[in-house]
């Protein structure tokens, strides 16, 4: 009985390794690993663009009320 579990564990480990290799291949084929500098910008969007800090302590760093009054 015992060897069966070792065998299963071993096969599962092989599958995991294989999946890792497959993921790496997929990434390369998809071009995920090329043009890296631009890809690092993919976290910025129109709503939260690059070049602008997007988190402050509440009420600091320019408050919405002030901007309303200015308007």
């Amino acid at each position: 009985m015992e060897w069966l579990f070792y065998l299963i564990a071993f096969i599962v480990a092989l599958c995991i390794t294989f999946t890792g290799a497959w993921a790496l291949r997929w990434a390369v084929r998809q071009g995920q690993l090329s043009n890296l500098e631009e890809q690092s910008r993919s976290i910025f969007t129109e709503e939260e663009p690059e070049g602008r800090q997007s988190d402050f302590f509440p009420g600091r760093g320019g408050s919405s009320r002030r901007s309303r009054r200015q308007r």
Partner: protein
């Protein structure tokens, strides 16, 4: 990038007054964003080089790892648990145990709590071990006390004690002959005591002679073995 055709045209929910501001300034942001992108974008195909010091560091780490595994592989022997040894077959019989070292360890683990670090005991409760006939006297009585414990009134160096001494043999801590012998030898030769060592064979004899005993000894029972 920004004028992604997939982007939905502003839907009805964008009339939300809270969002209006955002929507108005969206264009402005996009303009700035486009500028930023234009400035920065220098498509670097392929891999940016790793800083040189990192290459050195990584080579160093990999080199170290290689040396380490070669050094401490233990001959890749599944039965070898000692990384310093090349091959398991070389290891011979375990080194002989010094009874005094083992005895001291056992004593500090199990006896100090009652008999004290210097074997002085606690006045009126736990008898001392220094210079008492129980310790430096007859071997058999001492072994019996350690194997099965001691209860009832006893006299040690002129004072009487009446409490329980736990068993360390089969009914108690289940020590083997070597351990009993070691602790007995230790208390017989420490703190100025100077009696001959007790060896495991003697303990084994007493153990078999008292086999089946389940309760602690009393003073009277041990009287015959006092000398």
């Amino acid at each position: 990038m920004n004028d992604d055709p997939k982007n939905p045209p502003p839907g009805p929910e964008d009339n939300d007054p809270r969002l209006e501001q955002g929507a108005v300034s969206d264009e402005g942001i996009q303009k700035i964003h486009a500028q930023l992108l234009r400035e920065k974008e220098e498509p670097t195909e392929g891999f940016a080089p790793i800083p040189i010091f990192m290459l050195f560091l990584f080579s160093g780490v990999i080199f170290f790892a290689g040396v380490y595994i070669a050094q401490y592989s233990g001959g890749w022997d599944p039965l070898n648990y000692d990384e310093r040894v090349g091959v398991a077959a070389v290891t011979d019989a375990p080194a002989a145990v010094d009874p005094l070292v083992l005895g001291r360890r056992l004593y500090t683990q199990q006896c100090v709590a009652c008999h004290g670090a210097n074997g002085q005991g606690v006045a009126g409760v736990f008898p001392p071990l220094v210079g008492t006939s129980w310790v430096v006297g007859a071997e058999e009585r001492l072994i019996r006390v350690l194997l099965h414990g001691l209860v009832g009134e006893i006299e040690v160096l002129g004072n009487t004690y009446n409490a329980n001494m736990p068993a360390f043999g089969p009914n108690g801590a289940r020590w083997n002959d070597q351990q009993i012998a070691a602790v007995a030898t230790f208390i017989r030769q420490e703190w100025g005591n100077d009696a001959p060592a007790i060896d495991p064979e003697t303990v084994a004899e007493v153990r078999s002679a008292t086999a089946g005993r389940t309760s602690a000894w009393t003073n009277d029972e041990l009287e015959p073995y006092a000398n």
